[in-house]
């Protein structure tokens, strides 16, 4: 029954989207164009002068009402997107207004700011439904708290509760305050199950602020085995500027290959932590076409 409901919802969404997409297709060749340059891409520098070579696309944001839980109204009215590629890598610069910086998810009611790029084959309406069993999609997800972990060190309990104190934890090493990962032996990790089983959200040492995911339909999003995406986000003066980058031709077979001169389906999502955005509670663009120059 659940499957039938999901398929029905997806079909309704796809029919309405197809009308929308047909209109866009008729208007222009592509909604977002990735400009080819010969330089090294500014994959961790949202303020690089090189971004001036990319065309800026202003994309209206909409609500997420395809699947529950919904986000009835978008947190931001629009975002700006630029894209560059150099034959080996592709990078997106996403900027949007956000009056609050939400880069900690330690407390129960703290949610992160974030942005994501969805990539899938062109002409497939199922892409906005996060793909299907036979049409997987890739999602590159930048997270503000992961960025903060990298920029300032892992944010543990003590970052949210400065007066926090504890005498000991099982199998912990050293003296209080015990911090991850240094004071925690393999035996101590047993008491942090998310870390122990390898959940990417629970790893105290983040090597990237961008998580590569694959999805085959609503609710199926999964961290890819091979992680190669990089990026960086900077919040200044009420605005996030976030770079999300990956290889055009990754060697792992979970990623869609991006070939120069070809078009792809794409969509962008924004999470506003201050609004409680998380998971499906997000602002999204329509399904767009991406042209890789």
């Amino acid at each position: 029954m659940k499957k039938i409901v999901l398929i029905a919802v997806a079909l309704v969404a796809l029919v309405s989207l197809s009308v929308l997409v047909y209109g866009i297709e008729a208007r222009q060749a592509a909604d977002v164009v990735s400009i080819r340059v010969s330089d090294a891409l500014p994959v961790t520098d949202p303020h690089s002068q090189l971004w001036s070579k990319a065309t800026e696309f202003q994309l209206p944001m909409g609500s997420q009402t395809i699947i529950a839980p919904v986000k009835p109204a978008p947190s931001v009215p629009y975002i700006q997107v630029r894209s560059l590629n150099n034959g080996t890598h592709i990078a997106f610069l996403i900027t949007w207004a956000d009056s609050t910086k939400n880069d900690r998810t330690v407390k129960i009611d703290e949610f992160r700011d974030g942005s994501a790029v969805l990539l899938g084959p062109v002409g497939e309406m199922a892409v906005l439904a996060m793909g299907t069993a036979t049409i997987p999609v890739n999602v590159l997800h930048w997270k503000a708290d992961w960025q903060a972990d990298i920029d300032t060190g892992f944010q543990g309990v003590e970052s949210a509760f400065p007066n926090f104190w504890v005498d000991m934890y099982p199998n912990v090493i050293g003296e209080p305050p015990y911090t991850l990962p240094g004071n925690f032996s393999d035996a101590a990790k047993l008491y942090l199950p998310g870390w122990k089983v390898g959940n990417s959200f629970s790893q105290p040492l983040k090597v990237t602020s961008v998580e590569e995911n694959r999805a085959r339909g609503f609710g199926s999003l999964a961290t890819e085995q091979s992680q190669g995406a990089i990026g960086r986000g900077i919040w200044e003066n009420g605005q996030w500027s976030v770079v999300i980058a990956r290889q055009l031709h990754p060697s792992d077979n979970e990623d869609i290959q991006l070939i120069s001169g070809e078009k792809y389906s794409t969509a962008f999502a924004i999470w506003d932590g201050a609004s409680g955005d998380v998971g499906a509670r997000k602002s999204i663009t329509a399904l767009l076409t991406l042209y890789v120059q």
């Binding site: 659940k2 919904v70 998810t105 129960i108 543990g156 008491y191 870390w195 629970s202 998380v278």
Partner: protein, 379 residues
């Protein structure tokens, strides 16, 4: 939404998934009349499962004092306010469940507690419903001034709200025992389960940034043993075992006997619609007013009458099964009561435990001439 049957409501209701009951459903009955809030269960759970960093505030098992205590603060009153006044008509729930009352675009009616809500696990401890006055309120039953202790764990519901709310299907209900688990690899910390669970038993780990929940000690259950909180209960308030649906009752099954045959074990807030699988024998010293009826449904008074009859010696079988509470670590699926003993049997019919129906009474003289000592306060 699918239509599923909830026997605790006496009707079909809406749920996110179709009705698929587990092959076996583990359950428990807590006798509130015996609980002294010693928190031994709480600490047994804490030291077993939640002593890691990021779990400091977690109490998968907690004991709160009613009417004022609650962990997290106001977990039930907040949801009852959201749900609004609802009614039972002739034993059938005529109101809306948290699934049926879900707002458009949401799967469940819920709310997300903030950190401060979890900061007062002992709030209201031992506080009575009204200030104690000069009147000897304890001279008659039920008492006009009262308090009682409510031990709580995950209810491993037949229709879990946490499971329905998780958009990633990170939460699943095991077909072999009905235990509801949260996959630590799939969870992405959305906290939809924390928001949706009416009993607030999924909890967010500060350090791993994903959610966790009570496991019903499934590794112990898989080996035929009771969960840690259950077997450590020094007040012997708990009975643990499997439960059947009302159309498939085994009267020799301890939980079936307490819940379906004697109907003294009542679900906690059945109107929420999750068909919880931890049952409570309501306190007999508390008047069966709207407070208790709201908490345990419309059969509170009948359950109290049955329990009182047992106390008057009119129901040795009920007395016997309650004597078997926390009498062994081993799960037993059948019981029998003789003139002298209550006996528990496993699935193979082998005797697991035997207890006296009445403990032998020994009265020692105040003065022991043999030892030449006086005994004070010793029986």
């Amino acid at each position: 939404m699918a239509k599923v049957y909830n026997w605790q409501l006496g009707r079909y209701m809406e749920y996110w998934y179709e009705e698929v009951r587990p092959r076996k459903q583990m359950a428990a009955v807590f006798d509130i009349n015996k609980c002294i809030a010693c928190q031994t269960c709480t600490m047994a759970c804490k030291t077993t499962w939640t002593s890691g960093k990021g779990q400091e505030y977690m109490w998968w098992n907690n004991v709160e004092t009613r009417p004022w205590g609650s962990f997290p603060m106001g977990w039930d009153s907040k949801l009852l306010n959201l749900l609004g006044p609802q009614e039972w008509v002739n034993g059938i729930y005529a109101g809306k469940t948290i699934f049926e009352a879900a707002r458009p675009g949401e799967r469940v009616l819920g709310n997300l507690p903030i950190d401060m809500d979890w900061a007062y696990p002992n709030r209201g401890e031992d506080e009575t419903n009204e200030p104690i006055d000069e009147a000897k309120y304890y001279f008659s039953m039920p008492h006009s001034i009262w308090t009682f202790y409510l031990a709580r764990v995950c209810n491993h519901c037949t229709y879990p709200a946490c499971l329905a709310a998780c958009p990633r299907t990170s939460i699943y209900k095991r077909p072999q025992d009905g235990i509801v688990l949260l996959d630590q690899q799939r969870c992405r910390g959305y906290r939809e389960c924390v928001r949706a669970c009416p009993y607030k038993k999924p909890m967010y780990n500060h350090e791993t940034r994903i959610s966790e929940k009570c496991l019903f000690c499934f590794p112990a259950v898989e080996q035929g043993n009771w969960p840690r909180c259950m077997r450590s209960c020094i007040g012997k308030i708990r009975m643990f075992g499997s439960i059947h649906t009302p159309d498939n009752i085994d009267p020799e099954n301890p939980i079936d006997f307490l819940v379906h045959v004697k109907k003294v074990g009542l679900p906690l807030y059945p109107q929420f619609g999750t068909e919880p699988n931890v049952y409570y024998i309501p306190p007999i010293h508390v008047p069966a007013t709207k407070f208790l009826q709201q908490m345990f449904g419309p059969n509170v008074q009948k359950a109290q009458e049955t329990y009182n009859a047992m106390r008057n010696g009119e129901d040795p079988e009920l007395q016997g099964i309650l004597m078997l509470n926390v009498s062994t670590d081993r799960i037993f699926s059948k019981f029998r009561v003789t003139d002298k003993h209550a006996i528990g049997f496993d699935d193979n019919g082998s005797e697991v435990v035997r207890v006296n129906l009445n403990e032998p009474k020994v009265v020692r003289p105040f003065y022991d001439p043999k030892l030449g000592v006086y005994r004070h306060n010793i029986t």
